[in-house]
């Protein structure tokens, strides 16, 4: 917009209803907020939205969690199935991670035409979680060497898309792992793995269970992330979908919760450039956020244990 028209627009905007101004001049609306160091939803620039975590939201899964960051809602569930391991790696199980965006989550997604971003987030989640050797290590997915191993299917559904999808998806995925209980199983005469249910443990005494008891994972170090929008000199943590669509440059920092090592730093292009100082600031914001999320996670797990 040229400088000559600026004054005119200003006069116009003062008469206009706030909501109309927001729709007609979204960028100006947001820039005016940024100048006052506040966001349209009343947050300071560096603050993330309220985050809640509920473990065990799906009874039919072995581990599940519902994560909510502001309005963005993610439901993650893990189902354990048995597979025959490959000849090359007889003791290795597998984790398959899939991110879904069903049409209920956003007006932009229609049935039959999957969202373009879904496979990208899927890939980034797999990279983040599978590279974090800690989770894979604790899982100990092997059952009977060369015969059977666990295949962990992790499915994450976006129920409501309102920005920072990766952050919420990663949080729900990590929480689902922390809630996961690997069932007790044994090998039957046909060479298939069968469950040992609570009430017929006595009957199954003669059959040695393959894994001893219901196991819970101990997660000392997990990845957490923070997405920031970069706009001119401002850094907005945890953007809403409106902010993401108007200021299109964003950066996602994933840090390890215990050592604060960098798990991933993604800035997929966008109109703006990221300067070293801005990246450093984002990493600092991410560090604070990781501590915050860790606390939320610990509270959710301790609530679970009390029940």
């Amino acid at each position: 917009m040229g400088t000559s028209t600026n004054g005119k627009v200003n006069d116009f905007s003062s008469d206009m209803e706030v909501d109309a101004f927001r729709r007609l001049f979204p960028l100006r609306f947001h820039e005016r907020h940024l100048a006052e160091s506040i966001r349209p939803d009343g947050r300071p620039l560096g603050k993330a939205r309220d985050t809640t975590l509920v473990l065990g939201a799906v009874a039919s899964a072995n581990g599940s969690a519902l994560a909510k960051i502001g309005c963005t809602t993610m439901l993650a569930a893990i189902k354990m199935e048995v597979m025959a391991p490959t000849v090359e790696a007889p003791d290795e199980g597998c984790i398959a991670i899939e991110f879904h965006m069903p049409p209920i989550c956003s007006p932009l997604i229609r049935p039959g035409r999957p969202a373009e971003i879904a496979p990208v987030i899927s890939k980034q989640l797999s990279d983040t979680i599978l590279r974090q050797e800690i989770i894979c290590h604790y899982l100990e997915l092997s059952l009977v060497s060369g015969k059977a191993a666990w295949m962990a299917y992790l499915d994450i559904y976006c129920l409501d898309a309102d920005g920072a999808l990766f952050d919420a998806a990663l949080l729900s995925a990590v929480a689902a792992f922390s809630h996961l209980q690997v069932p007790v199983v044994s090998l039957n005469d046909d060479g298939r793995i069968v469950l040992i249910s609570e009430d017929n443990i006595a009957a199954m005494k003669e059959k040695e269970p393959v894994n001893k008891e219901k196991r819970k994972l101990k997660l000392d170090s997990v990845p957490f992330s923070l997405t920031c929008v970069l706009h001119k000199n401002h850094i907005l943590a945890d953007p809403t979908s409106e902010e993401e669509s108007i200021m299109e440059t964003f950066l996602t920092v994933v840090l390890d919760s215990s050592s604060f090592q960098l798990v991933s730093l993604n800035k997929p292009g966008g109109p703006g450039l990221a300067h070293t100082s801005a990246i450093q600031e984002c990493v600092e914001l991410a560090k604070l956020r990781v501590k915050e999320v860790q606390k939320i996670m610990n509270e959710a797990t301790s609530d679970m244990e009390q029940d």
Binding site: L108, E116, I117, P119, V120, S122, K123, Q124, S126, D127, R131, Q132, E248, L251, D256, F260, Q261, L262, V263, S264, L265, N266, K267, P268, G269, G270, P271, G272, L273, A274, H275, T276, I279, Q280, V283
Partner: protein, 242 residues
């Protein structure tokens, strides 16, 4: 540094790079880029009228189609498509052709490490060949971080697999005073920023910034090479002129 690399390269030494434009006769613009054994072909069609649904019609729309060497498109290709698209959105003057779509088709001919940087160069060169107005060139590089803490630039496939972490970076090319005096400040800051960053694997935060510095140091020489390669007249134009 006492790192031994295949072919006797130094840690900061890049593989020989080549870039040829106008390699396809039917595309509006095309380029073939190679980086050691890695080779990528890019073709540009457009700008064509209209944008895709859910895109802003006040700007030009960029569409990237990634074709792997063999097999079907998977999640990896989708990720590259998204990153390449958003990287090109950064360098193109999107308001120059509003309500149009420009398609870039990227065909991988051979992958021997540092595939994404090579594809970024090929796509940029093809855009230049098609005469699409650009703000600057995107200069991309892959840095790898070894278990022992060394940083190697431009790793090949074998090195990529052995490394603890990989960092793909794209910088705006260094611009020499084509702009007026007044915009010099903006020019400087453009050189400091990064367009794209993509990492794989866990590493200390400081090492990332180290990679950033090392990658930035390679921008000027890479820009010069690319400029020289692109200035040489294309084979098709030559024959047309004759």
């Amino acid at each position: 540094m006492d790192v031994e690399r295949e072919g006797g390269r130094g840690a900061n030494q890049l593989r020989p790079m080549d870039c040829t434009r106008s390699v396809l006769s039917r595309a509006h613009g095309s380029a073939s880029c190679s980086n050691g054994e890695t080779r990528v072909l890019a073709a540009v069609y457009g700008p064509k009228a209209g944008t895709k649904k859910n895109e802003n019609p006040e700007k030009a729309c960029i569409e990237v189609i990634w074709k792997p060497k063999t097999g079907q498109i998977g999640k990896q290709e989708k990720e590259f498509e998204m990153i390449l698209k958003r990287t090109l959105q950064n360098i193109c003057l999107l308001t120059a052709h509003p309500n149009t779509t420009t398609s870039i088709i990227v065909q991988v001919a051979h992958d021997d490490g540092s595939l994404l940087p090579c594809a970024i160069h090929a796509a940029c060169a093809a855009l230049v060949d098609a005469g699409i107005p650009l703000k600057y060139f995107a200069v991309a590089i892959c840095c790898s971080f070894s278990e022992s803490g060394h940083i190697l630039l431009d790793p090949n496939k074998l090195e990529e697999q052995k490394m603890k972490a990989l960092v793909y970076l794209a910088f705006p090319s260094s611009v020499r005073s084509v702009l007026t005096e007044g915009s010099e400040n903006g020019e400087e800051s453009a050189e400091n920023g990064i367009i794209t960053s993509l990492t794989h694997g866990v590493m200390p935060v400081d090492s990332y910034f180290q990679c950033l510095e090392q990658g930035r140091a390679a921008v000027t020489p890479l820009t010069n090479i690319l400029k020289k390669k692109l200035q040489s007249p294309s084979p098709i134009n030559q024959s047309a002129a004759a």
